[in-house]
């Protein structure tokens, strides 16, 4: 497993549009992916789980990926989260 820490930076957090985009991105990968926010661990391949988590601006999260391309996939997911501006 590979894990990288990041922070939700866009002002409105992971609302509908970025959450949809993140889910669609994660679903492209066969690797197992979790977003960990303190006690909560979310499967970002589930849009319902992701929106239910209510990940707001400023929330530190750890992206955990397990699988063949775990390093590259983890990097892509973190890059996407850090690219969010709206």
């Amino acid at each position: 497993m590979v894990e990288k820490k990041t922070v939700i930076q866009n002002a409105t957090g992971l609302h509908a549009r970025p959450a949809s985009q993140l889910t669609q991105l994660c679903k492209k990968f066969p690797e197992s992916i979790r977003l960990v926010d303190g006690e909560k661990s979310v499967d970002p391949k589930s849009i319902i789980a992701l929106l239910s988590a209510g990940l707001k601006c400023g929330t530190p999260i750890t992206v955990q990926v397990t699988g063949d391309q775990e390093e590259a996939v983890c990097g892509q997911i973190v890059a996407f989260i850090e690219s969010l501006t709206e």
């Binding site: 002002a11 409105t12 957090g13 549009r17 669609q24 849009i47 239910s52 209510g54």
Partner: protein, 151 residues
Amino acid sequence: MKSVYEDLIVTGVDARDAEDVIRQVGQHLLKNGFVKDTYIDAVALREKEYPTGLQLKDLAVAMPHTAGVHVITPAVCIAKLAHPVTFRHMGDPDTLVEAELIFMMAIQDPNAQLETLQKVMGVFTNEAAVAQFKAAADKAALYKVAQTYIG
């Protein structure tokens, strides 16, 4: 923050497709003064690029919405459809769902969107709540369930 209003509970919406659902349900938000006249077109446009269909365990729903600039007063318009209508899935636009229940959201403050979405997700992840929404046979029953779970 209040989201559910009696005038925004609708049943028996007979629509031919997702856009028709949005235009019919959106009229209730418009005529009751919750949204500007740009809202419906904006929701219809957004749904094409960012679909909002979701498949729950026993029911498919959709939660169309748009940017806060089109909103006057925040609210959620809840509509039961006369028959299921096809929406594209929010997390996978290549997947289609047959939505029976619509939660059309008018969110004014972008910072409040996450909170409103969480409230609605709270319904979707609660099997008892979903069963009650599904079983609500008329406007009064639907309004009561909506007040209970969304507020």
